[in-house]
């Protein structure tokens, strides 16, 4: 009985989060085009529905009814596996993100946390691990297409993801040192009480530098401009998904946007206090925390997503050697230095 209730609750939670994430992906495809258009003195999509708000529906329908082409000489198994390998790790990371307060509700004798699917004690490690698996999808997709553009895109993304994943991992260690936990719920709870408690500003050593490293590295990890070398459309047609069409292409596309959302969620949770409001009074009374918490979380995540679009509208693409040099010679030492300084401060001011 307990197992049944737990299963039903968890499945309900998973489907709620999935629907929310996929709806956000759909919204992002439109928002990105709109924001880019506005920044470039254009209008963006205007035809489908009023002000083009139904564009994601039209895009989805188009991709759904498009012919699914498998190129001659492609490895059929890997070719069809790659989009799934790319999308699933991007979606699976949301399992450990706390979207709201850390409440435990008793439903028919089952302890149930309504705002986080599962609070595992290695949450951030789990996200990083699955983000690395996402790279396999890109590399396999590039390799199995039997096309030189795809292969070059896949190779580039392999090198890029490995280099920048390291920086992501190292930049968050400062936060982990200060919070003393890998669980995202614990990290969020440690940042309660106002924006000065967020790890971006936190007392022993503000993690602002680490945050900058994290954001740059995660832009690189999600293959977004200015680090979009794997899919550089002016150099490699479309990079690793050159040969993909229809729903398989849509999977890669959704994976990219889901990764963006995931990275924004992680940045929010680690550096900007998760669902906590910048001031205590903005959070409202205790019983309203679930609503204000979700609202604040959404605002912060959309802020980061806007930052992604903003960067894309502003910056040109890096050259490949610049990318590598920047990752290994600039970001890596900064991240390492941040760890050293943070651990020193954490030692001098224990208990914070």
């Amino acid at each position: 009985m307990d197992t049944g209730i737990r299963l039903a609750l968890t499945l309900g939670q998973i489907s709620a989060v999935m629907v929310a994430v996929l709806l956000t992906v759909a919204a992002l495809t439109l928002l990105e085009r709109k924001v880019l258009g506005w920044m470039q003195d254009r209008m963006g999509p205007m035809e489908v529905g009023p002000y083009g708000i139904l564009q994601p529906v039209a895009d989805g329908l188009k991709l759904f009814f498009k012919e699914d082409i498998i190129p001659a000489g492609a490895n059929k198994l890997m070719f069809s596996l790659a989009p799934i390998l790319s999308l699933v790790p991007a979606l699976i990371g949301f399992a450990v993100i706390p979207f709201g307060p850390d409440w435990t509700v008793d439903v028919g004798g089952v302890n149930f946390k309504p705002f986080v699917i599962t609070d595992i004690n290695i949450g951030i490690l789990y996200i990083l691990a699955f983000a690395s698996i996402g790279a396999f999808g890109i590399i396999l997709g590039g390799w199995s297409s039997n096309s030189k553009y795809s292969l070059l895109g896949g190779l580039r993304s392999a090198a890029q993801l490995i280099s920048y994943e390291l920086n992501v991992g190292l930049s968050i260690i400062g936060v982990l040192l200060l919070s003393g936990s890998l669980s995202l719920v614990t990290i969020t709870n440690a940042q309660a009480g106002g924006f000065w408690n967020w790890y971006f500003f936190a007392f022993p050593f503000p993690q602002a530098v680490a945050f900058v490293v994290f954001i740059i590295s995660s832009v690189a990890e999600t293959n977004r401009t200015p680090f979009d070398l794997p899919e550089a459309e002016s150099e490699l047609v479309a990079g690793f998904f050159t040969e993909y069409s229809g729903m398989r292409f849509a999977f890669f596309f959704m994976a990219e946007y889901a990764n963006m959302i995931l990275v924004s969620c992680v940045a929010t949770v680690l550096f900007f206090g998760g669902w906590h409001a910048p001031f205590e009074f903005l959070q409202g009374p205790e019983s309203w925390h679930w609503l204000t918490g979700m609202i604040w979380f959404t605002i912060k995540v959309y802020g980061f997503l806007f930052l992604f679009f903003w960067l894309r509208a502003t910056l040109p693409r890096l050259r490949y050697d610049q990318l590598m040099r920047f990752g290994w010679k600039v970001l890596l030492p900064i991240a390492l230095g941040n760890i050293v300084v943070t651990s020193l401060f954490a030692y001098i001011f224990p208990g914070n």
């Binding site: 924001v35 258009g37 506005w38 920044m39 470039q40 003195d41 254009r42 209008m43 205007m46 903003w310 960067l311 509208a313 502003t314 910056l315």
Partner: protein, 179 residues
């Protein structure tokens, strides 16, 4: 100087500058887009659009079948088959008149060349078709284009003998009836 450069690099000065520029475009959003099928640009009066054959105000064709447009055309768009008006041996007309608009480059030389102003350039430009053969126009189609674009027609000069192929250009200095 070196220090200043370093500080600028550290605080992402150039990136911040660029991002400020893009943000200012977002905040002062003034799109330069023309929503084409819904909004259309107003064309200049001398716009060189679709070609058309014209008529006099009594409904007779202006074209006298002189072939000068065919000779003037640089891309061989026009083909004229000239013939005598039946029963009027001094007067000619274009029995058949074809334009292959797939080749036309809208230079307007045929209009310049026409001695009787029988050709006109309209303001029409939406001539995309699914079948190229729809752009091979015959005389009736060209006259129809002229009819719908030039509702006010030129008057036939009163002293022109109906049996004479009359060239407007040769008699500029003679008094002409007001249009």
């Amino acid at each position: 100087m070196k220090l200043k450069k370093w500080v600028k690099t550290l605080i992402f000065y150039e990136i911040a500058l660029g991002m400020k520029a893009t943000l200012s475009h977002l905040l002062h959003y003034k799109p330069i887009t023309l929503q084409y099928p819904h909004e259309k640009k107003s064309l200049p009066s001398n716009y060189r659009g679709m070609l058309a054959l014209l008529r006099y105000d009594d409904g007779t064709e202006k074209c006298v079948g002189c072939d000068l447009c065919e000779a003037a055309c640089p891309s061989r768009v026009i083909r004229v088959v000239s013939a005598e008006v039946p029963g009027e041996p001094t007067k000619r007309y274009s029995k058949e008149y074809y334009m292959d608009m797939t080749r036309c480059l809208f230079c307007g030389l045929c209009v310049e060349a026409c001695p009787v102003d029988a050709l006109g350039m309209t303001q029409e430009y939406e001539w995309a078709v699914y079948d190229k053969r729809q752009l091979h126009l015959n005389k009736e189609q060209l006259l129809a284009i002229g009819d719908r674009n030039f509702p006010i027609r030129e008057k036939r000069l009163e002293f022109q003998h109906p049996n004479v192929a009359y060239f407007n250009v040769g008699f500029k200095e003679l008094p002409q009836k007001e249009v």
